[in-house]
Amino acid sequence: MFWRRAAHGRVGFRRSLPELGLLLLATLVLLEGSVLPLGAASSPETGITPGAGVSHGHADKNHSETKHKKPFPVLGLNYDSVKTPFEISLWVLLASLMKLGFHLLPRVSSIVPESCLLIVVGLLVGGGIKLIREEVPPVLDTKLFFYCLLPPIILDAGYFLPIRPFMENLGTILMFAVVGTLWNAFFVGGFLFAVCQIPHASLSHIGLLPCLLFGSIISAVDPVAVLAVFEEIHINELLHILVFGESLLNDAVTVVLYHLFEEFSEAGTVTVLDGFLGVISFLVVALGGVLVGAFYGFVAALTSRFTYHIRVIEPLFVFVYSYMAYLSAEVFHLSGIMALIACGAVMRPYVEANISHKSHTTIKYFLKMWSSVSETLIFIFLGVATVEGPHQWNWVFVTATVILCLVSRVIGVVGLTFVINKFRMVNLTTKDQFIIAYGGLRGAIAFSLGFLLDIEHFKDMREIFLTAIITVVFFTVFVQGMTIKPLVELLAVKKKQEAKRSINEEIHTQFLDHLLTGIEDICGHYGHHHWKDKLNRFNKKYVKGFLIAGERSKEPQLIAFYHKLEMKQAIQLVESGGGSKLPSAMPSTVSMQNIQPKNQPPPPKPTERALPQLTKGREEEIRKILRSNLQRTRQRLHSYNRHTLVADPDEEGFQDIILKKQKMMELDRKIKEMANYLSVPSHPKDSPTMSRARLASDPQAYNIKLPAGGVPTIQVDLASPQSPDSVNLLDEIGKAEQKEDSGLMMKPPESNGPEKAGEKDGWRDQQKLTRCLSDPGPGAEEDEDEPFLP
């Protein structure tokens, strides 16, 4: 390890120069931003005088033309009109450059979580600006935060929320979110009030209700901070979803408590009726938020059903509908965060079934990009706002807050887990409890809520509150954020399993679902699985047909999963050049005796194993293709069974060509089968001529050009292509093969995944490829460019 560190040091040094350059650039950019406003102070005057001069001149024109004309300004300075967008862009640029910078410092970023570094940067920037201008812009404006910075992060979280674990643990999550937050709020608020009564502390002006209000602000676990920290520690799915789900769902509680206590701080007293109304208000806020979100989600899904002609704006619908859901919920004082989560989670399965593959990628990357920038900005602004203040440091209050927060969190988690474990199947261990308690980070939401406090009402208290909030946020983010990673290692908490979903796991997950539902039915009680099954059936029967376009609405989940898997592999196949990974051996369909998995023989010696992978089953398949399409070659192929192919090096060249052709045949056959099966599911097999004729008129057929390497007589000519893109794709496969100088070496496949790709890539992917290629993305334009190339 020692030598490694030294190596890193060396590399770090070599890398430090561009880093320095980056930092220098960033500071310059920043200074420019802060210096220019100084210049802006003077520009209004310069802006006015020419104007005044001109108007004056005009007025004078009537009297006399003797006023001399000012020379036409060749270069002017008008910073005012671009001020706001300019500054915003500067901040975003700074945030992105910082993020870039951190990744150039591998050692630092592995010790310190990014969020801490960003806060430090914010502090530095804030300090810098304060030195220069003696006044820091109020960047963490509440409106900006709640309407611009927070939604992308929450939408990203909601859209990609893993529904299954979330739903399975919903009870636990709700318990933590609702009861846990309530407990925290009252505990911290109550005890703080007690602390305030201490005579020396000079805090006696803070009443009970303001204390409770403060408690409610500080008690909520913050999704931004949790996301930022937990992203880097990769703990297992259960813990992640528990803490994260809690941070999302406690928004409703926070909203209600905040408004409740704020209202009543003015009034001064709380009655039982108010408490009761508070409970009802909570239900309204939470359920209302979810309903609003679900409504917008359904509308978005419905809209996406009709977008197949204009694929380019599909992502826009997703974003706008979600944002509208958020804003609509905010209008009615409902929980915007829950609306956003509900919208994203509801619309996702239907929208993904409807939109093109490119739109899906776009949505994913836009969401990640926005949420990443937002998060960075939030932490930087936290740093800047800390410098700005206003602060009033009170030792007693602040330390009491920090300690009480920690204590209440621990007690809350332990107590709740004790109760929850009675109802859970899989109990939460002490280690789990520790991580849940330790992962209760506070963040920018608490700060913004504190900022929102009415200045008049909480005259003396606001600053104390803000200082305490910032301290708690800093403490949790820095101390807890930095130490959670080593603690996770130390306690050997189970980490996230990196396995990609295999088809077997999917099959068995479904199988288990049905099995457990069946057992529950036999046992005779309506449990968890029974209702889930009912919901699924309802979904399949009514909702999917309504919201998903075309054939996909009837596609069972297993098949959809399988298609997605194939799609991924097909894309991988194409990206990797196509030719080198040949289709894996398929289980024989005719003889049904063997299943031949992919082999990993030693690197093939060309003379010996020209075609190591061709198995009996494969050969049968090829025979079938040719039998149905082209009668002539049947005899020719028959003589090339596996044994002769392998053992006959003289025929190598010809075999290559034959095999290339066979691959194309196979693609062709698969397309034919696919065309048969998709357009008319139960179509009987026709004579070759008939099927070819059908293909000629089939709009979904593709043009397959055989490799131009002197292929003998056999030609297969299908119908004209549907779109130029489809030709490109398959041409690529063809071209890639031609590029191969080693002829048709069936190189030993590298890994399990792509193995299946070749086997099935022509198969059902063609349909998906149409979908993904049919949108007029950049690919289409590439074609049009070709005539211009020499």
Binding site: V426, N504, I507, H514, I522, C523, I595, P597, K760
Partner: protein, 217 residues
């Protein structure tokens, strides 16, 4: 409910030890058994088939068959029963118990093996200790059985791909002449490692007596 009188606390105790259920749970399950069997001592396949809620289940046949499979009785017999008594019913149900806080790691491991074995038996219908391609295809077909003809075509492809995956994960270096006969129990365990059966494959068994759902008899 004359039959319940014959079961004394003693017998429940013995069953509790063998299967791991609590006495309360056994009592409830016994009530359910009585309901399903029409107060007789044994249940046949028809009794289970007539549960209305099961009608929508695509793998209904396999589930029912699992109850009558001798391999699930923790013995070494093969074949299947025609009718089963309460003890056998309970044994099958015991495969679905969840682990508790007190379950040790070894017990969890044993539990997982048992559950995986149960699944394996459900797939391996001819009892030869291997899931062949045909059997696996059947499994996938049944899963997709409610989806019409599209399901049938896709089922074959999916099963083939899945089989390939199992083979390539477990026996990556097969030569071109080798024949992968079928998924053995070890291979099956291997591919399901990621699913953590001991925490997923369970049903909540009631401790408190509730009014039983009308089972349609």
């Amino acid at each position: 409910m004359g039959a319940t009188q014959t079961r004394s606390g003693q017998e429940y105790q013995e069953l509790a030890e063998r299967t791991g259920f609590s006495a309360e749970q056994i009592r409830n399950l016994h009530k359910r058994f009585q309901q399903l069997s029409g107060n007789e001592d044994t249940i046949s396949r028809e009794h289970l088939k007539s549960i209305p809620a099961l009608a929508n289940n695509p793998i209904r046949k396999q589930i029912i068959e699992a109850f009558f499979d001798k391999r699930n009785q923790h013995g070494n017999e093969l074949g299947s029963y025609e009718e089963i008594g309460f003890e056998e019913f309970l044994m099958v149900m015991s495969h679905f118990r969840p682990p508790t806080l007190r379950t040790t790691e070894e017990e969890k491991e044993a539990m997982r093996k048992e559950k995986v074995r149960f699944l394996f038996n459900m797939h391996d219908t001819d009892g030869d200790g291997k899931i062949t391609l045909v059997e696996y295809r059947k499994v996938v077909e049944e899963l997709l059985s409610k989806s019409g003809t599209i399901g049938q075509e896709a089922a074959k492809a999916i099963a083939d791909a899945a089989m390939l995956e199992v083979a390539s994960t477990n026996v990556p270096n097969m030569g071109p002449d080798d024949f992968y006969e079928g998924i053995t129990l070890e291979h099956f365990e291997e591919i399901l490692k990621g699913l953590e059966m001991e925490t997923r494959m369970h049903v909540r068994f009631l401790d408190v007596s509730t009014t039983n759902v009308y089972c349609g008899k």
